[in-house]
């Protein structure tokens, strides 16, 4: 389908793009073995399938290892300052709603210094995508604890262990009135690309937490449940409309006991799939999503996939509508009238 180029230059037939078209000429400078490589590869891989002209895609980031991301994407990119990517994205998307805007952030950038912006960006629900790489450590500054580091974690800045309860990104997103909340992981490229693709198609702010291994400062942070050997027993792949079943032999499930989830074994004590929780991303209230977000290793399998997905008007759409309505009522702004104001007098 022909598209109008936003500069007004004319009609363009979008060329058939490949993954290679999204690889920039910059050398990738992440540490060898970093989980960021996998995320970059998946994003570059799905880009051609989105059908968006390359010039209309903008990656915005803050500061941190993850925030180098835009340099490696052959799209428009803005590597901004620590924690503020969401603010730049907000201004850009509000003034250029036709652009596809992506925010790449990390657990420090997005939840510590930029926590305030993340909250407000989510509740405004601009039609943008936020990818939060969570490695539970500060990598770029060489190994201090982050707001998602587990309580008691020993790091360079917490030699005796942290004294802080970590924050849960999914809970934050839900509490911030996000309309799309998902989680994926660097070591499952298939799930990751599917999740990012779904996020990009969501109308509204999509929030994806990506478990990402920092092999230098926090190696194996997620190993306990992401290791291939144990993954199916310790992770729960959420699927909309399906009962929550997991385990190598598909024999375990999640059942609701009062207001608490519990792990049950199918076939034991007469339990069948009918007794299990059915995943519903589109539930009007995020109660189920929140309940899932609190499930953590080792007591529960760690859920990944889309927790929550609902529709709500986007900030920029509401603004555009107000603009259209006012223009319909008053006509396009007349500068001369504006300058004259309501009362004038003349000196001759």
């Amino acid at each position: 389908m022909p598209q109008t180029d936003s500069t007004g230059a004319g009609l363009l037939e979008p060329p058939k793009l490949t993954r290679q078209d999204f690889v920039s000429d910059q050398t990738v400078r992440w540490c060898p073995g970093c989980g960021d490589y996998s995320i970059l590869a998946q994003v570059q891989k799905i880009m051609p399938d989105l059908g968006i002209p390359k010039q209309n895609i903008v990656f915005v980031s803050g500061i941190g290892c993850s925030s180098r991301f835009p340099y490696y994407m052959n799209t428009y990119g803005f590597h901004s300052i620590h924690g503020r990517a969401a603010t730049l994205a907000t201004g850009l998307k509000t003034s250029r709603p036709e652009l596809s805007v992506w925010v790449v952030t990390g657990d420090g950038d997005g939840l510590s210094i930029g926590g305030n912006h993340l909250i407000h960006c989510l509740r405004r629900n601009l039609d943008i995508n936020i990818l939060l790489f969570n490695n539970r450590i500060y990598g770029l500054t060489k190994g201090q604890y982050s707001p998602t580091s587990e309580m008691g974690k020993k790091t360079k800045s917490s030699p005796f262990g942290t004294a802080e309860q970590p924050i849960n990104p999914i809970c934050v997103a839900i509490a911030s009135e996000a309309t799309f909340v998902a989680r994926s992981l660097d070591v499952d490229p298939v799930h990751l690309s599917k999740t990012i693709e779904r996020a990009s198609k969501h109308k509204g702010t999509s929030f994806v937490e990506i478990y990402q291994n920092c092999n230098i400062f926090n190696d194996g942070a997620f190993e306990e449940f992401t290791n291939r050997e144990v993954r199916s027993d310790r992770m729960l792949y959420l699927e909309h409309g399906h009962p929550m079943v997991f385990g190598k032999n598909h024999d375990k499930g999640i059942r609701l006991n009062g207001l608490e989830p519990e792990v049950v074994t199918l076939g034991q004590g007469g339990i069948t799939e009918k007794d299990l929780l059915i995943h519903d991303e589109n539930a009007p209230e995020p109660t189920l999503a929140y309940l899932l977000s609190r499930m953590d290793n080792p007591e529960f399998p760690v859920p990944v996939g889309v927790f929550y997905s609902v529709q709500r008007p986007c900030f920029e759409e509401v603004i555009e509508k107000q603009e259209r309505d006012l223009t319909a009522r008053l006509g396009s702004g007349n500068l001369e009238k504006l300058i004259r104001g309501s009362e004038t007098w003349t000196v001759s």
């Binding site: 180029d5 010039q55 901004s80 907000t90 250029r96 702004g333 504006l338 104001g341 009362e343």
Partner: protein
Amino acid sequence: MSTQAGLKAPQARVEELETVVIRFAGDSGDGMQLTGSQFADTTAIVGNDLVTLPDFPAEIRAPAGTLPGVSGYQISFSSQDIRTPGDAPGVLVAMNPAALKTNLSDLDEGGILIVDTDAFTPQNLNKAGYKSNPLHDGSLAGYRLFEIPLTSLTLRSIGETSLGARQATRCKNFFALGLVFWLYERPVEHTEKWIESKFKNNAEVARANMAALLAGYNYAETTEIFTTHYRVTKAKLAPGTYRKITGNEATAIGFVAAATLAKRPLFYGSYPITPASDILHELSRYKNFGVRTFQAEDEISAIGAAIGASYGGALGLTGTSGPGVALKSEAIGLAVMTELPLVIVNVQRGGPSTGLPTKTEQADLFQAVFGRNSECPAAVVAPATPAECFTFAIEAFRLAIRYMTPVFFLSDGYLANGAEPWRIPALADLPRIDVHFATDKATFMPYRRDPKTLARPWAIPGTPGLEHRVGGLEKEDVTGNVSYDPINHDKMVHLRAQKIAGIANDIPELEVFGKDSGRVLVLGWGSTHGSITTAVERLQAKGEPVSSAHLRYLNPFPRNLGEVLSRFEKVVIPELNLGQLRLMVRARYLVDAIGLNKVQGKPFKVAEITDKVEELLRGERHATN
């Protein structure tokens, strides 16, 4: 019942005056700002020149009747061209003892003092700290005191009403306004219309206010309490169509004009802060001009969004006061590094920290010029009058776009809230703002500079083939790739500095008011213009060898500034800070400039400047004798 100003009671004598200064003072709940601005509107329409000085507390409603709760509005109006709200009021309307106590020392000796006697209760006198009632203890003997029971007369004029006692009492400001309208021969029609439209959904409130207004007018006319009323004839202003405008209004519509001239949408990111919030209120109404406003979660988000909008090709604007600029500094550095157009409005207020939120000051000059990490140059402009806020809003964006740079627009609380008549410019006389977006794939390099301006190209998302990355890391010259090369960094620091310095070739030379050379040059910037010019005019009328010059560009300075300074024996710089421009001028030009500094949250009085200059002239004479 007659309401026509033309029908005067036969017994009142008319006296013609050139300039009158009135101050309305009362509790912050008494509606003094409204009373003052209504008086100013009518005064503008009858054709006087005018300057206003609203002065209100930071508390929305401090405890009633207390000294911190006093709110005032001063207006000077004249048949001549005037530039200041007057050093001292000749008329003081004091709605309660606290207002009397805080304002009396400013009133001219022998000035007119109108008080609401109903408010001089033992309780209110006590709250204001009066040991005895000043109305009875002879302490007001030096003034022409008019004791009027404004509250009870107001209630009587309203008569039977469904309004509660408190609401009915609140109409007393309109009674006072009516009274002063008569005293200075102003018509009531404008305020009548205002009341009708303001309270169109509340007929009883409209009726009560209207009744109070007319009763005040008629009271003054028919009682013999005032033997004289005063006439200030139309000012001889330059021919043209005028409107009344405040600095914040002029700032807001100036930016709309800039966007219209540039044919680009305006994006305003802001977080509410006194005294800049009115700009946000005003701009948020102009959606049909393509203005998009964003009330951000904080100051940083406000500027971040503005930078994002600029990156996308809109005119990115953020507005705040000093504390907000402090929070924005890192992001301003980002805009300097990414070389994007951006305007930062700072409506300066008293500081440091939260300081004096509603009072004026000029102490953020260093913050604008230097207040960022590393070598981080930005252009700085400062309008000198409320109306000039319009001109400099356009100028700020002209420079921001032409030089791809952040530009500071330094206003202050006095300019922001003060009003004056403004001769409306013709659209055709407004400057052009040219916007060129890069489109040529073959030649595009993100940091390839225009040889003349040193600006880099503005390449916005959506342009095919120009996909590139920008950011806060140091850029390689021309390519814009990340570079940690020491020689490249040195070059880029110099290039950014040269780009801003080069703006000096694109702005007007500094003009001297008065003779080109002489004993004393009074150099100012920003809102001190009115006081300085009036002071220098007075001194020149006495034949003193004094001139003045006013800087509207603080970074870079006009290219002839050093040369102008060298033509005067002495340079005095009045500033509402401890000498920030003075330090810059001394450092740059090695001129031994003398400071006149005041940080009281108030503009300079004319006499403060004339006194200082006269002292310098005397000193000089002594020295040469």
